[in-house]
């Protein structure tokens, strides 16, 4: 066939062209066919022109990828067979499939999310990772430290947002201060407080958390603000009239601090405190949730119930609010566990700061009504990203409502009972004048 040698020569020419040789060079190698081959090579160049103009749109690829993987998962759904060994094997395989799929979809997200800013698609992922780390904290002290780190992270994000002149709703926490002119500041940002904003017991000198609109002029239009509440439990290790040491953490005690139960050294104490601007903690309430052995020695047994039954202490160990007049406490927090009920805490008896009650010292802003700005899971861009925000959203809803720190009423029972238990086996709380 006469075509064959020419077709072969053409193929050689195409290879050279593809390697970058010029048309003249290539044709020079086949002088006898140069004129004949030229139109073919011109056509080849035209085809190459078309080829180099082709673009594979990332969005199209991502959409197809999601469709593909979703369909793959759907296709390996149960075929409604009995649960014989095969059925079981199948469902196990399916589970494994789904899990791997999730991993594939998530790959890279975690890393990318670390750089996310409020308003970014990946921002909720970042928050979820932080919450996970918080929940894995091994001690109240570590947890507080992590919380501080994440608060600082929020401030860093705010700085970046300002740099980029982005106006976004943010959650921030930090020490509240007031200038002589009366302006409120936090972390170098000026807070603008609408006149009708509920302030509760928020005041300068405390550590607060807020939700508001961050603006490039370094102001925050505050929507919600409240004191940061910290909650943890641990063993009472020492106590004076002004300070208790619980689980290795020093907690300031004021005349307003409510004490429930009969604390003794070694008692398991649930601390609810607010943070001061200087980082110190000021107890709002101290509640005995586990009784101590007579001496401060970690005995392996822990009998919890008996003394927490409402046996009236002779002195006013409990503040008047211990009686809980409803008028006094407007916000019935869901964690206002009746302190008198004999709730045997399932706590292992170790004397070290025991994080058993990881009662989350208020994690990321616990205002359940104000979720992070970028909550809407945006489907589409990256297939993986679209999965996570959704999950994250669930997670968010699940977790946030756990503790809504309500402004604690300023207990002013006029007689200011300050409990100062001395390290005695029994309860020797005296009321200081």
């Amino acid at each position: 066939m006469i075509l064959d040698p020419k077709a072969a020569a053409l193929e050689e020419c195409l290879k050279w062209l593809a390697a970058g040789d010029s048309l003249t060079e290539v044709l020079g190698r086949y002088p006898q066919w140069a004129d004949e081959l030229r139109p073919y090579l011109e056509a080849a160049l035209a085809a190459r022109l078309l080829a180099v103009s082709l673009r594979v749109p990332d969005a199209a690829k991502a959409r197809g990828r999601e469709r593909f993987l979703t369909e793959a998962q759907r296709q390996w759904q149960p075929r409604s067979r009995g649960l014989g060994p095969i059925g079981l094997q199948r469902s196990l395989a399916r589970l494994a499939f789904a899990l791997t799929l999730a991993v594939v979809a998530l790959a890279g997200i975690v890393l990318a999310s670390g750089l996310a800013l409020p308003g970014d698609v990946l921002y909720p992922v970042k928050l979820a990772i932080e919450r996970t780390r918080l929940s894995l904290a091994s001690s109240p002290a570590q947890r507080l430290q992590l919380e501080q780190d994440f608060d600082n992270e929020r401030i860093g994000e705010a700085e970046k947002l300002i740099e980029r002149r982005r106006s976004v709703r943010v959650m921030l926490a930090g020490a509240l201060s007031q200038t002589p002119a009366g302006e409120w500041h936090m972390a170098g940002l000026r807070l603008i407080l609408p006149p009708d904003l509920l302030l509760g017991d928020v005041k300068p000198g405390f550590y607060v958390e807020l939700v508001g609109l961050l603006q490039p002029d370094r102001t925050v239009l505050v929507e919600k603000i409240q004191l940061r509440e910290v909650k943890f439990s641990g063993q009472l290790q020492a106590a004076s009239t002004s300070q208790w040491m619980v689980g290795g953490i020093a907690v300031g005690v004021t005349p307003q601090t409510v004490v429930r139960g009969e604390p003794a050294i070694g008692s398991e104490i649930l601390v609810r405190a607010v943070r001061l601007a200087d980082g110190g903690l000021q107890a709002r309430s101290l509640e005995v949730i586990g009784i101590a052995p007579p001496t401060f020695s970690p005995s392996p047994t822990r009998f919890s119930a008996p003394s927490s039954t409402p046996l009236p202490p002779p002195t006013n160990t409990r503040t008047p609010s211990g009686g809980l007049p409803p008028s006094q406490t407007p916000a019935p927090s869901e964690e206002q566990e009746p302190s008198e009920t004999p709730a045997p805490p399932p706590l292992p008896p170790s004397q070290t700061p025991q994080p058993t009650h990881t009662l989350s010292p208020s994690e990321t802003p616990p205002l359940e009504t104000t979720l992070p700005p970028s909550q809407t899971p945006q489907v589409g861009d990256t297939p993986s990203a679209s999965e996570t925000p959704a999950e994250e959203g669930d997670d968010e809803e699940e977790r946030t409502p756990t503790k809504t720190p309500k402004p604690s009423p300023t207990h002013e029972p006029s007689n200011t009972p300050k409990p100062s238990p001395t390290p005695k086996p029994s309860k020797t709380a005296t009321s200081t004048p």
Partner: protein
């Protein structure tokens, strides 16, 4: 012969492998389709459909696709042909009314060249439509996906010599159609 990639064991379709296959071959499939079809939406649909069919095939036959690339590009070729058949008339009508040259008065050199290139690309597209499906197929594989002549032969299940001849004729036809348009 390409290495392992095109011979991925797709027997038990685990998601990792599937995701890998998708990421590996989607660009090739898309480029192949886009070489033959201009409309990006149609290209996306077809490329996506190719992979969905892969799933169906795997589910039906319990795997055993030996040459994944070949299977994907072959399926893409079929879908493109189907599309062309269905839309041939409509498209030809459209081409008639599409202005051939909108002489953009570019200020500098670059926009002018770009406009020129865009116009040429459209010319090539139009010319391609007059080729047979086989001819389009071989050009798309060679130029859009840069497959070697041997690979194309393997994909098309023909001898290397036959593919060279097919390519030869395809380029001849392309040149003819381009020349016709130039008039």
């Amino acid at each position: 012969m390409t290495h392992d990639d095109s011979l991925i064991r797709l027997r038990q379709a685990d998601p990792l492998t599937l995701a890998k296959v998708y990421d590996r071959f989607y660009p090739e499939v898309y480029r192949y389709v886009h070489f033959r079809l201009e409309d990006e939406q149609v290209c996306e649909d077809i490329a996506s459909e190719v992979f969905l069919r892969l799933l169906k095939t795997l589910a039906k036959k319990r795997g055993s696709i030996r040459n994944v690339r070949g299977w994907l590009l072959g399926t893409a070729a079929h879908l493109v042909s189907d599309h062309l058949r269905a839309h041939y008339r409509a498209r030809r009508l459209l081409e008639w009314v599409t202005p051939r040259d909108e002489t953009i008065t570019g200020q500098g050199d670059a926009p002018e060249r770009l406009a020129e290139l865009g116009w040429q690309v459209r010319q090539v597209r139009q010319a391609l439509q007059h080729l047979t499906p086989d001819q389009q197929h071989v050009l798309a594989l060679r130029f859009a996906d840069e497959r070697s002549i041997e690979e194309v032969a393997q994909l098309m299940r023909r001898s290397v010599g036959a593919v060279k001849v097919l390519q030869f004729r395809a380029l001849a036809a392309l040149r003819r159609c381009l020349a016709k348009q130039d008039l």
